[in-house]
Point group: C2
Chain length 205, copies 2
């Protein structure tokens, strides 16, 4: 693209470095911000810098938090014997939105991915082991994407945690509610048959 | 969405105010920036603030520029008798990319849209009339989208400019190269027949 201004080009290049944002979209976003009041643009950049400079991660579960320990870890209404292990804060938000889970979380902060140079020591795995040593936790649920990196991470975690007195489970895989069987991939469909559940258990409550 | 942090929520809300960015995309962008180095985030916000605070618009054509008059208006290789009237800087960039146009531009900064409260006085229309009074310009090309707002703007401009000794034209409408005739809308297809061009003129040069 031929920009009529170096300043414009720099701003567009910064925006097009964001995931899923190409140069045309970046230009649209930058021109939108350029048409806003100075105060609005200041608010935009302040919110970002404020987040970046003042962000805290919960000491216990490593989720993004406003204080040293997050609200979920502090809550007395939560089942403290149950911990759901997830990749990042988006997964916590997705699970919280279901209103079906009342235990605690442990946010790994990524998945093991040798291709990207991310090993176990880059993730919050040691601190999970530390939490387990206290002995309060009785069950671990892995809610991790069924990708190469996800499976590698689950495999590593399972090996590391198997000596603790724990129930270890993963979220159920299968055909989504509303999903059409004819369009399901063979792996999911095959597994959904071998891991079939009694009819009474399948009813929504 | 339930955010675990007020700071995160504020940043996501700012990003989801951008056109075409929903809350989930905004969260993805914010978490991406959160994983970057402080220096990278500073560079991102600096590029935006620098653009916003130091942006200049060409005195003559109103395109975004780094100096008081833009490079196109200053260029001696340009045909100064020809002016292409466009909505905004994105249209200038699109036309420049074709390498088919060697005249000057006039950037209106929007289109007449009574629904959005944008009238002729909000656009750079008076300054176009001022440019014409100098008498150097012989032809005006309207390269404006064929929407309701675009047509209104062209109609208004045409009325305003008809007393000048000018050739006034609009860009050709028709079936795009590579476009399939069976999928073209009736209006475009119908017009492409009534405004047909001699075969020799249709050959690419």
């Amino acid at each position: 693209m031929n920009f009529s201004s170096k300043l414009l080009e720099q701003a567009v290049n910064e925006f097009s470095g964001l995931p899923g944002i190409g140069q045309k979209t970046a230009l649209r976003l930058v021109l939108h911000l350029l048409n806003q009041d100075n105060a609005d643009v200041d608010k935009f950049t302040f919110a970002l810098l404020n987040l970046k400079n003042n962000i805290k991660y919960c000491k216990q579960c490593h989720n993004i938090a406003d204080h040293a320990v997050c609200e979920i870890c502090l809550s007395h209404k939560r089942d403290r014997t149950l911990v759901c292990v997830v990749e990042d804060t988006r997964d916590v938000m997705a699970i919280e939105n279901t209103n079906q889970y009342h235990g605690l979380y442990h946010v790994l902060g990524g998945l093991i991915s040798p291709m990207d140079g991310i090993g176990p020591s880059d993730l919050a795995i040691e601190s999970l082991a530390e939490r387990l040593k206290i002995g309060e936790i009785k069950e671990i649920i892995f809610a991790i994407s069924a990708t190469m990196e996800g499976d590698t991470t689950i495999f590593y975690l399972h090996k590391k945690l198997k000596n603790y007195d724990l129930k270890i489970s993963t979220i159920a895989r299968g055909i989504a509610f509303g999903g059409e069987i004819e369009y399901a991939d063979e792996l999911t469909l095959g597994r959904s048959i071998t891991t079939r559940v009694p009819y009474e258990n399948s009813l929504m409550r």
